[in-house]
């Protein structure tokens, strides 16, 4: 039996959502509620806490079926706006990955490269309703004789287009600095020499997995906000690593849990899926993601009340340590300090900026709150939980 004073099930919460009686707040609003009323009372009052994050998430992409093609083709190589998609699945199924650059891209030949167009931009353009030039090559078989195919495609005309991101929603992430004497260009943005700036990339107290640190409520089937539509958690994300050092509040001190997420690309909105060009690094996709956390008991109430003061990012050097694969945390810095705009490091004030958009993260948490409050969005009941500690 549970040792909690409050015990709610997801079904009970869903009944409240259906009758329009569920109390839904954002993870930022929950902080004061728990501070004022305590965990037990907060758990009695609040049913769902919404979270949000909007940032480049490189491990993203979409499965697309571009058939039927007549005469049929078993495509072995496919390009979308000159960006190579993976075509080694069946005849007209492809996977377009966010970080694939255009074939014509000069890459880093003149460093730092601009990477103006890639897989993330293809996905962004599709969702924005733009026409995409598809080009396919094949070797030809008795059953699939066609060897070449070209067509302008649009998302609305495709049979199937599914966003399927192997790793999103990292629970905590590095705060990147550059200890060398020259500027470097990384997936964490431009880093000036002698640690003159620090870039981080989570929404802190609004970040989905910071609010359910031990993954008590998240798993296969959890319904989420994904790219402006309703999507699902499909599996633990790649590199999901629960067994790391954690603070007293159970939140990890280094990157830990991740989510594999899936959703119908056709339902999504270009505001929440955007191509990204990281100078000197490459292309990516900015993904809007929000996870609703059911407040099943007072422990979940306390977890969702975690604030930036109690969350810490590891400061990692991207000039020597990261490229050499040395997983060294120079020191910890709280998200409260990072969000203040600067913090003391190496004997001086270092400017800190997120690559993750806080205004957009707040917007996602608010949208999710509205959907649930209006009964448009029911909680998904996980059928299989993420590995935990």
């Amino acid at each position: 039996m549970s040792n909690f004073q409050v015990n709610k099930s997801i079904q009970e919460i869903n009944e409240k959502i259906k009758s329009g009686k569920a109390v839904v707040v954002t993870a930022e609003e929950m902080i004061d509620i728990v501070k004022k009323n305590g965990g037990v009372k907060a758990a009695q009052q609040v049913d769902v806490v919404t979270t949000g994050t909007f940032a480049p998430m490189c491990s993203s992409g979409a499965f697309i079926n571009f058939g039927p093609v007549s005469p049929p083709i078993k495509a072995s190589k496919v390009w979308l706006n000159d960006v190579l998609a993976y075509a080694g699945i069946a005849a007209v199924d492809i996977y377009i990955g966010a970080t694939e650059p255009s074939e014509e891209d000069p890459l880093n030949k003149i460093h730092p490269g601009a990477f103006t167009y890639g897989g993330g931009h293809v996905i962004g353009d599709l969702v924005a309703g733009k026409a995409i030039k598809l080009r396919a090559e094949a070797y030809g078989t008795d059953c699939y004789p066609r060897r070449q195919y070209e067509k302008k495609i649009r998302l609305k005309n495709l049979n199937h287009a599914v966003l399927c991101n192997p790793r999103n929603g990292y629970q905590n992430y590095n705060c990147a600095v550059n200890l060398s004497k020259k500027t470097i260009y990384t997936y964490m943005g431009v880093l000036k020499p002698n640690a003159a700036n620090a870039n981080y990339s989570t929404s802190g107290q609004l970040s989905p997995l910071f609010n359910d640190p031990l993954y008590r409520t998240v798993g296969l089937g959890t319904r989420i906000f994904l790219g402006g539509a309703q999507g699902y958690v499909a599996w633990p994300g790649t590199q999901h690593r629960p067994g790391v050092d954690r603070g007293d509040n159970d939140t990890p001190l280094v990157p830990a849990g991740t989510l594999m997420v899936i959703g119908d690309l056709k339902q999504m909105d270009p505001r929440w899926l955007l191509g990204v060009s990281m100078l000197g690094y490459g292309c990516s996709l900015a993904v809007g993601l929000g996870v609703p956390i059911p407040i099943l008991d007072e422990e979940m109430a306390r977890y969702t009340a975690v604030s930036d003061e109690e969350l810490f990012a590891p400061i990692v050097d991207y000039s020597e340590d990261y490229p050499k694969g040395i997983g060294r945390t120079i020191e910890q810095v709280s998200y409260a300090k990072l969000k203040s705009g600067s913090f003391r490091f190496n004997g001086r004030e270092v400017q800190a900026v997120p690559l993750s958009s806080l205004p957009r993260a707040r917007e996602i948490a608010e949208i999710l709150k509205k959907w649930i409050s209006k009964g448009k969005f029911l909680l998904g009941e996980p059928q299989h939980f993420l590995p935990t500690v």
């Binding site: 940032a55 700036n197 870039n199 060009s277 705009g341 690559l355 205004p359």
Partner: protein, 135 residues
Amino acid sequence: MATKRLTFNFPPHLIDQPVTYQLITEHNLKVNILRARITPREWGRLVVEISGKKKNLDAGLQFATDLGLDIKPLALDVQWNADKCIECTACSSVCPTGALSVERKEMHVSFDHEKCIACELCIPACPYEAMQIRF
């Protein structure tokens, strides 16, 4: 005293003319060159902060215009496209003058034309092509 931030666009035939020198010596103006791009046989571009007595400034700019320079206010040059900006704030850490800054707490990005020196560092640093330069 009046101060203006301007872009001087030099037609190819004026590239070898010491215009800045004349503005300083003949019109008694302070010229601070913020950026310069000079390529033989092409249009040259000089971004300047220019200051002096209003009368001198007007006369100096009239002189340069009469010579054939295309003079534009700098404010028109760099553009922040708020529709494309997602407020990731990456630009603010490369901006040397604080023209691109972050309102803390709400974390909104703002762009102050007055402080912009058109160094263009923000343009490639923006992952969303929200910063543009117009020549």
